[in-house]
């Protein structure tokens, strides 16, 4: 949380990080669909992608990290009111690590795109945000999620992948929703820069 270019000071960073960790928590309060294998379909992963795209890789890392620390300390911030260290030993724990890395990757991807096309708005921005959410929110997230499932449930890679296949369409929709969200936020707050660190 060091000083970066623009008007971002460390206190500003702290504020954004803490508040967007709160946003992720609130995304979890929106009713979810509970499915077998204990892997919930929630909007929280949408919050993760959003944080990655909006805040940039470094801040996204701290935000998701802060969120996970808060959950580990016992706060029921995970959707469905789950919390405590117990969620880190569940079969779906891999996804939590996936959230952390995925948000960073989202941020890196977004930043790389925006540095090359800083004036992107409208359709361009939509595509960029969608791709970033896809790479970070699905590829990375599921990589770690499947890994976690393999370890916890003693499944092979193929078996674990098959187990989570059903959720991918829903998450693809979430990527699209994230893209729309990013675009709306940029339109509502044009002063917010997406190419900052």
């Amino acid at each position: 949380m060091t000083t970066t270019t623009g008007t971002m000071t460390s206190t500003r960073s702290l504020s954004y990080i803490a508040l967007f960790a709160a946003v992720i928590a609130v995304f979890g309060l929106i009713p979810k669909i509970d499915l077998p294998f204990g892997v919930p379909i929630t909007l929280q992963s949408l919050g993760i992608m959003l944080v990655g795209c909006l805040l940039g890789p470094k801040r996204a890392f701290y935000t998701v990290g802060l969120f996970l620390v808060a959950v580990a300390l016992g706060l029921p911030l995970l959707s469905g009111g789950r919390g405590g260290v117990a969620v880190f030993v569940a079969p779906s724990a891999g996804f939590l690590l996936g959230w952390l890395i995925g948000a960073v990757v989202c941020g890196v991807s977004m930043r790389q795109f925006m540095k090359r096309m800083p004036e992107a708005k409208g359709k361009g921005l939509l595509i960029v945000a969608f791709l970033s959410s896809l790479i970070g929110g699905i590829v990375v997230m599921y990589f770690f999620g499947i890994l976690g499932l393999m370890l916890a449930a003693h499944l092979s890679a193929t078996q674990a992948t098959l187990a989570v296949l059903a959720f991918i369409p829903g998450d693809l929709v979430k990527c699209a929703a994230c893209a729309v969200l990013v675009q709306s936020v940029v339109r509502g707050m044009p002063s917010w820069r997406l190419d900052r660190d």
Binding site: M1, T2, T9, S10, T11, R12, L14, S15, Y16, I17, A18, L19, F20, A21, A22, V23, A25, V26, F27, L29, D34, P36, F37, G38, L43, L46, L50, L54, L66, F67, V69, A70, L73, G74, L75, P76, L77, G80, G81, R82, G83, G84, V85, A86, F88, V89, A90, P91, S92, A152, A153, H154, L155, Q159, A177, L181, S184, V185, G188, M189
Partner: protein, 197 residues
């Protein structure tokens, strides 16, 4: 936001937080290293007895365990169907036992105490630039604003219902995110005034 901590005191409440964390880590490691069915069964039975000794404070959190129970049962069933029931049983019991241990920690340890332990563990990293005090501040902010944003969500939903007769749903995510950005700026100013920088 109600945490998992139970105000109904048990024998475990009096044990210092760091000790419980150490015990949890040791217990978790033992569970991970035990691979045979008998060993795991004994370990699981011990954990179950410990959990039961907490009394109603433990059973109140049955919901947390329910999801994991379903996941474990599915895993066990899957492996049994594939012809190696032992692996499934070991996985299932390990998950349940680890989760119960972790849950025992969350139920009997105050959030503040865990935070203090966390800060103590992290304090050597202070000389590497990690702002340890700020973590507590950040978590406090996250909690406060999670409630705030949730209330904001409900107010936006009210306004939407007043204008359309229906609930807003996902459409409200954009104004919420924008509001979060705006609030973060104001909070940063307030913090800067009190903390400097």
């Amino acid at each position: 936001m109600r945490s998992l901590y139970s105000t109904r005191r048990t024998w475990l409440h009096g044990v210092p937080a760091w000790l419980k964390l150490v015990a949890l880590s040791l217990g978790g490691t033992v569970l991970m290293l035990t691979a045979d069915v008998r060993g795991i069964a004994i370990a699981a039975a011990i954990v179950l007895a410990l959990f039961a000794s907490l009394g109603p404070a433990g059973w109140r959190q049955w919901r947390m365990l329910r999801g994991l129970l379903i996941a474990s049962a599915l895993i066990a069933g899957f492996h049994w169907a594939m012809g190696h029931p032992a692996i499934g049983l070991v996985s299932a019991l390990r998950i349940m036992a680890a989760a119960m241990l972790a849950l025992m920690l969350s139920i009997t340890t105050r959030f503040d105490d865990l935070l203090t332990v966390l800060e103590t563990i992290l304090s050597p990293l202070r000389r590497f630039g990690l702002p340890v005090e700020r973590i507590a501040l950040a978590i406090g902010l996250t909690l406060r604003f999670a409630e705030n944003f949730y209330a904001q969500w409900q107010r936006l939903d009210d306004a939407h219902r007043a204008r359309t007769g229906r609930s807003g749903g996902l459409r409200l995510l954009a104004p919420l995110a924008i509001r979060a950005l705006q609030t973060a700026e104001r909070v940063a100013d307030a913090l800067a005034a009190r903390l400097g920088g």
